[in-house]
Amino acid sequence: MLTRPPVKFIDRIARALPQIVVAPGFAAILYFVYGFIIWTGYISLTKSKMLPNYTLIGTRPYERLFQMDRWSVAIENLFIFGFLFVFVSVIVGCLLAVLLDQKIRAEGFIRTIYLYPMAISFIITGTAWKWIMNPSLGLEKVIRDWGWESFRFGWTVDNNLAIYALVMAAVWQASGFAMALFLSALRSVDQDIIKAASLDGASPWRIYLRIILPSMRPVFMSAMVILSHLAIKSFDLVVALTGGGPGYASTLPANFMYEMTFRRNEIAVGAASAMVMLATVAAIMVPYLYSELRGKKHV
């Protein structure tokens, strides 16, 4: 009779190595992301104030949250800011990408200029634009000195305009990134289709509008998803540019959460606002990631 040699112990370890190697990272993510989400979710249902308190009180913190004017302002701001930021960044990014695609000399140089804001912290961006928008010494003064007496650029200190100052700075920072996305997508469009279309007599304009841009739908989708998740997470820019003010006119949910948690001893309300933010991000990201992962399996 033949006997099977026993599986060597070392081979058994070797077989489990991939799992063993993934384990620490995965465990860290499980604990620090999912575990923490659960913790925050729990705290958002308690009567925690200055310190975590584990006594459950149901959805009262959420009710309180939605009664707070500061929160409604933050949510409203998020809608205005998020919509304008995503919309304008995509338009500007797309426009710049198409323009740069016209066989521009020094394309690399120009691209570098458009993209460098991505390398900078939102804190720097906020500080720089705050200085430019300084009502007494900034761009407003320059333009007025040039003769346009009624020019106003002191948006950061204006109740109604502060949120647009945020949009302006955020677009400045992110539209180069959108451009890079679109440019690489433009370059990967099937060239045969373009040849066929131009042989059919389509003008370059029509080719862009009817063929190239529609074929880039997935990239538009990615750009919008990534930008909107950036919008929801926006925190530092507000801190540096407007400080959420004047008053709390330009506050965003992320700043609200920070304010409640670290300054106002309203931990439960802060946690509740964080959970609402998470839900918003998840509502955007999960369907997107799901379709992305599924789509890739077929390739």
Binding site: T40, S121, I123
Partner: protein, 295 residues
Amino acid sequence: MSDAARYSAPRPWSALILRVLLWFVLIVFAIWFLLPAYVVVGTSLKDLDEIRGGSLLALPHELNFSAWRHAWSEACIGVECTGLKPYFWNSVSMALPGVVVSTLLGALTGYALTKWKFKGANLVFALILFGCFVPFQVVILPMAQTLGKIGITNTVYGLILVHSVYGLAFTTLFFRNYYVTIPDELVRAATIDGAGFFTIFHRIILPLSPPIIVVSVIWQFTQIWNDFLFGASFTTGGAQPITVAMNNLVNTTTGVKQYNVDMAAALITAAPTLLVYIFAGRYFVRGLTAGSVKG
């Protein structure tokens, strides 16, 4: 280059006008993108009188670096008047280990998830991937608690841990997407040749990885250096990273507002990531789009 432009042959006149218009738009945008950089550098080189009296857009009369020196080693942040210097080194000693740990772990995780597919590998990846997009507001509270329990609140080590963990999702994504383009047959061939998990990683996979390592390092360095939320939430005083210290410096309300020092501080804070971008930015784009094995 896309061919859409190549096949257009409008009449010379309109072509010229279009070309001029095209350049006009490109230059206007370039000015818009460069304006803050110009203003920040310009202001940082002026003295306060020049700032108050002159135009924001005027060139400085002379190259005056005293604001830089002041921001670097003398400016007051809170009650300490040490300049940004110690905070700069805080950021360095936080960013370097953070980059190394998350890149290394990401590479190994990505390798195991793509080349040694085990049951549930896809689920593991999906769960890690979502970690990229979680708003950090949802983790700061429990993180503050955890750091307190381990006893590393308000230290650089705490921030290293935080950045390593939350960077891991991104680095894993980078490496995973890169490693799926490496043919599985390479790993099989090496297995038959007698190489094990780590030998294959070290001898076959790592030598193929420089492009994506560059991506991961640049990304992580930028993220960690530019972070504000974690720094502001978990540190105070002397342990703060430079972004937080810079923000405090700018928003210090005592005394005369020194715009030139503020701008110099912004410049110092931005310098490391800007330099990385200028010198290595193209490798970042190249690495993101590059396939692993040619031919």
